[in-house]
Symmetry: C2
Subunit: 119 residues, 2 copies
């Protein structure tokens, strides 16, 4: 997994456990894609300060995940739901299904989409 | 939701964030179904002490859920997956489905069971 994707997942799950100051800078870096130099200039702190803060946030958030493993759990569920979604797609390719059957599978497809939007 | 079910969910999600001492007593009470008087006697502490500790654990764990809302997210996903599971059951009642179709739906059913075991 790309580092920024991992950071964004960590933030999504555990970001609320950071202090407001940490959240604000981590969010600028990870979600708003603002560079370290720019964050430093905007906030009147050193590049090193921003860099250290982001590293500490990474460590704090990874520590929560090491302890709780909820991202791991979600990713497992996500991969299973993706598989369900793929299977409903294969079903659609079978031209022999009745309308009743297709309707049921369409509903399953809709729900799997809803879950994937949520995760 | 019954209080003990809620406590068990809270413990399952966030229990690792309690201290070992808290975990041990909360686990005895919530998961092992040992009464407050018995816990107090076994550990040589007062009933009031056990009672207060459990109440503090409840508050700590509810506070994590207020902040992170991950149980809420999981329960939503669980209800959707349960719906998928119900729909595959309805599909099985349609006697008109082909073997190919049934196989696909069986796979979806298996995966939804796997997810429900995990959640």
């Amino acid at each position: 997994m790309e580092k920024i994707v991992r950071q964004s997942l960590l933030y999504d799950f555990y970001g609320e456990l950071l202090t407001n100051h940490q959240k604000s800078i981590y969010e600028d870096f990870v979600l708003n894609d603002i560079g370290i130099s720019e964050i430093a200039a905007l906030r009147g702190i050193s590049r090193q300060g921003v860099h250290d803060l982001i590293r500490r946030c990474d460590a704090t958030l990874e520590n929560y995940e090491d302890t709780l493993k909820l991202i791991e759990k979600f990713l497992k569920i996500k991969s299973w739901v993706t598989k369900i979604h793929t299977l409903t797609g294969e079903f659609d390719k079978l031209s022999i299904a009745s309308i009743q059957e297709k309707e049921l599978v369409d509903q399953i497809n809709d729900i799997s989409n809803q879950i994937l939007d949520e995760i």
